[in-house]
């Protein structure tokens, strides 16, 4: 059944599916995990990073990119598609400033990216973008925002979300652990993001890339050393809580 309706993006199947869009979502599920957390004064993006080959320069393998001084995004899926979307979004951020003299709100740029993706699901001769994006930032009024888009062009606001491989496992972890105390301070929010990634990332802090935006401050990308120290703290806390449990038993 699917075989007859999945060649062209512009053809619905009889039961109402756009198979090309669904296949694009499959491509996203193969991408490396990306998690986003919205705190009170901070937004955190964490990405699982494939190990960099020995001869490869580390700097070119960035999966968290700034769109403007106050907005950044991480993605899961086809890297080349993401690069195109990021370039267009960056131009749109500046164009907005030129026409309106105000920086974009996170929702505006999310809507722009989502509309771009939707346009590619409704033209012939093109295929959908094979990425889901997590877009974080602060609006003019100081409120933190986290949005997620997917290849079909829909977008939603989230308190915390995860995309890519093993998204279900990590989302369950977040649903259990995203509490008032967990995001009470910036440090706690960062730790929550790392703990969520450690659920599915093998070999710990080496393969995690982390970035934060604090209110009125530019994007800050964590160095490998900072991530290692955070991971060490988290493991110490885990050990201590396990010791306590053993004692109480």
């Amino acid at each position: 059944m699917a075989a007859r309706y999945d060649r062209a993006i512009t053809v619905f199947s009889p039961d109402g599916h756009l198979f090309q869009v669904e296949y694009a979502q499959e491509a996203v599920k193969k991408g490396s995990t990306a998690v986003g957390i919205r705190g009170l004064d901070i937004v955190v993006l964490g990405v699982e990073r494939k190990s960099v080959a020995k001869l490869q320069e580390e700097r070119t393998v960035r999966k968290i990119c700034a769109l403007d001084d106050h907005v950044c995004m991480a993605f899961a899926g086809l890297t080349a598609d993401a690069r195109i979307i990021i370039n267009r979004a960056r131009v749109e951020c500046q164009s907005h400033k030129l026409t309106v003299e105000d920086p974009v709100t996170v929702e505006y740029i999310t809507r722009y990216i989502a509309s771009l993706k939707q346009r590619y699901t409704q033209s012939n001769g093109r295929r959908p973008f094979g990425i889901s994006a997590l877009i974080v930032g602060f609006d003019d009024d100081g409120s933190p925002r986290l949005y997620q888009t997917d290849p079909s062009g829909t977008y939603h606001s989230w308190k915390a979300n995860v995309i890519g491989r093993n998204a279900k496992t990590v989302r369950e972890f977040l649903e259990k652990n995203y509490t008032e105390e967990a995001i009470a301070t910036d440090k706690e929010a960062i730790k929550l993001a790392i703990r969520a990634l450690l659920e599915v990332v093998q070999s710990g802090g080496k393969n995690i890339e982390l970035a934060i935006i604090r209110r009125n401050q530019p994007l800050q990308i964590f160095s490998a050393k900072d991530i290692e120290s955070q991971v060490a703290e988290i493991e110490k806390e885990k050990e201590e809580s396990e010791k306590k449990k053993k004692k109480s038993i």
Binding site: L67, D68, N87, R90, V91, S95, K97
Partner: protein, 268 residues
Amino acid sequence: MALQDLLRRRPRSPPPPWPLPPPCLAPASTPCPLPHGTTTLAFRLAQGVVAAADTRSSCGTYVACPASRKVLPVHARLLATTSGTSADCATWLRALRCQLALRRQEDGREPGVAEAAALLAGGLRAQRGRGLCVAVALCGWDRAGPGLWYVYSDGTRLPLDVVAVGSGSPYAYGLLDGAYRPDMPPAAAYALARRAVAHATHRDAYSGGCVDVFHVRQSGWVWVSHGDVGELRGLARALAPTEEDEEEGAEQTSVDQYKPAGTSLERH
């Protein structure tokens, strides 16, 4: 979509079918081809670029604004002195600001003054013949040190050490050419810039108001002074050492200051 149009460098909309209204601001009897009334200048030192401008915006013989800002910041290390049609300058500098911000995002480093000049000149060149009048001196500090580029709306782009733009520029050049030295201390440079603009406002009807002096250093631009031209114009007062001048030692407070270096007043 405005920035994307600029980047595409082709005018999107066709010209309207009705006759365009004549430009009402250009004084018809002016034989002088210089841009509209203003005096702005900038010159390069070892310690950065000093820029100065008057503050009179004229609309023919009517002073539209006696307190306008003609030195506009583009980013922390780049200033632009504006001359010509104020609206054109403001719009194109806003567009330049956005283009440079985009480049900074994409390349990960601050674009240089030459690059900014090329972007601006290229954009203006694409609109040549449509009546834009933009004469801008881009003063900045980039990886190569202090940079000064003059950009005109026909696409002219010149790297210069000393530039004065506007209807008062010949008068300013008279003072600048005599006293400018690339190794001037900043205090003397500020005094020279102030003097040159003040003198130009004395002779040029379309320049006046106050004198703004700016300095672009490695750490960014600073607004040095804002002085009323009436106070600066009195010869003795203009030549008296101010607080900044006194840092570098007293200069001679006499009419000899106006003597160009190396010539004597007696010669004809």
